[in-house]
Amino acid sequence: MSYIDWTVMLGTLLFITGYGAWKTRGSKNIQSYLLGDNQSKWWVVGLSVMATQASAITFLSTPGQAYEDGMRFIQFYFGLPLAMVIICVVFIPLFYRLKVYTAYEFLENRFDRKTRILTACLFLLQRGLAAGITIYAPAIILSQILGWSLNFTVIFIGVLVIFYTVVGGTKAVNQTHKQQMAVIFAGMFIALGILLWKLSEFATFTESMMVAGKMGKMNIIDLKFDLSNRYNIWSGLIGGLFLQLAYFGTDQSQVSRYLSGQSVAASRTGLLFNGMLKIPMQFIILFTGVLVFVFFQFHTAPVYFNSVALEKTRTLKTEELAALENEHLQLSQTKKTEVLELIDGYSNQDAQWIDEKRHNLQLHLSQEKDLRQRTHELVSSVNPDLEKKDSDYIFVHFVMNFLPIGIVGLLLAVIFSAAMSSTSAELNALASTTTVDIYKRNFRAEASDQHYVRVSKLFTALFGVAAVVFALIASLFENLIQAVNILGSLFYGTILGVFITAFFLKKITGTSVFLAAVITEIFIILIFMAGHFEWVLIKGEVFKIEYLWLNLIGCFLVMLIALLFQTTIGNRRNTVTG
């Protein structure tokens, strides 16, 4: 990497961090530190909500996912605009009316203390683990790219985030989010523009789209209903709605973003702004991945994208790797010829020719998949701690090898900024929940504002250190973005069920909903483990429910079990008193 790239990357990161901390230093009261004095305008709320959700994983993993699996992941976000509308109608007016600091405070008001503490603890558990992943996931990739040690990269991200989040609290998170989103949007559009420009050497925009489509990458919508299919329109609209509803409505890292709005209108408009922009933003990120795929039909891609692991393999298994690379080179050349012929067929409107080429290309793709799998097995034999896939390295490989000097630094700043934006919001939310729902409620109800600000700062720092320690000892599975979403789905359904019960089932009391939440959580974890470890076979097939549906199941189970308990407890009480 050139000096210019280092300057752009470090300059951007240090400016955002330093300016954010300086501008927001010196909060004297808890209202200011945890809610940012309710000064945020609607567009700050909107950008902050988007920055919190967009982690570094979004920029590392998503283009790689599109490269391998096509555009279908976008369906995951279809429930989001609907969730935004529901939160604006139901959640926001209540949170504002009760003047809460955290979402869980509302539950004590509606049910009882134990329900508030249970949901706060479920949140702390899942978000505390996720904070570790949001640091670890980009660090493992960035460390290899930059030639830093993994531990140093984790500590570098951790120290920067902890510094400004502790100093400025919610105000610092919102302030830095504005600049981080500006960097993210700029980097994203510049990368897309350069990619299109580089592709124009071989194919027009329409031809590139056609190549992607014929090679199965423009599979944006799948209408078939299938519980075991991870991404289709139904899992996105229904399962996604419940996941996004739980995430934005009950996860304090998001709730604190819009509670910092200067009015109900600012919070609502900010959320609806996110509802309209999120899908196009994800479309652009996924489409960038698809264009990288088309780009590598004209340029030879490496047989394995994790270059550090590949080079290590080259020194230890030289001949085996050379044979695989040779096979891959030949296949790439055949594919390139077929793609160019496909474009010719498209120009001549020869449907039969296009069909034949499409068939051949699909065949070559499956051969390539098999070849990459064999390479992965070889690379794994030399690198035992390797992730299951190399897809998280695809986009960053393109950035490092094909983008001009200066832009590489900007794109790396995008990835670091995204890592810091989501982590800072998480630390801020973990600290506010621990301070307000656990510490203030159970241990020290009456103390000065300065005391609570000091305690909040301490908890922010402690959660930051815990996330860094978790990141230092964590190990990965399958795909980074899915790891975070799966972890969320194990808890979100239950938490959302408690909130929906609070809003809509007026007769349910605290004990019923508390017991229902505990039983549901155990059940959801069992369902997930049954699928993951293949415990149950039904007619010879493994019983498995994809994770997006767990949000829906969890939510309804809490409501159903709470109703059953309420009927039983209610009847017994009536019998005793009668």
């Binding site: 605009p81 007016p93 944006i220």
Partner: protein
Amino acid sequence: MSSNPDNIPPPLFRSWNQLYIFVIAVLLVQIILYYFITEYLK
């Protein structure tokens, strides 16, 4: 809540409901567009 000065919907929209419908309409238009792109490029 629209009468509350803290809760006035953005200009261009007479009520919050109108804005909610607009957001859902934007979603539907995107889904339809993506469906046709998927089918056309298959």
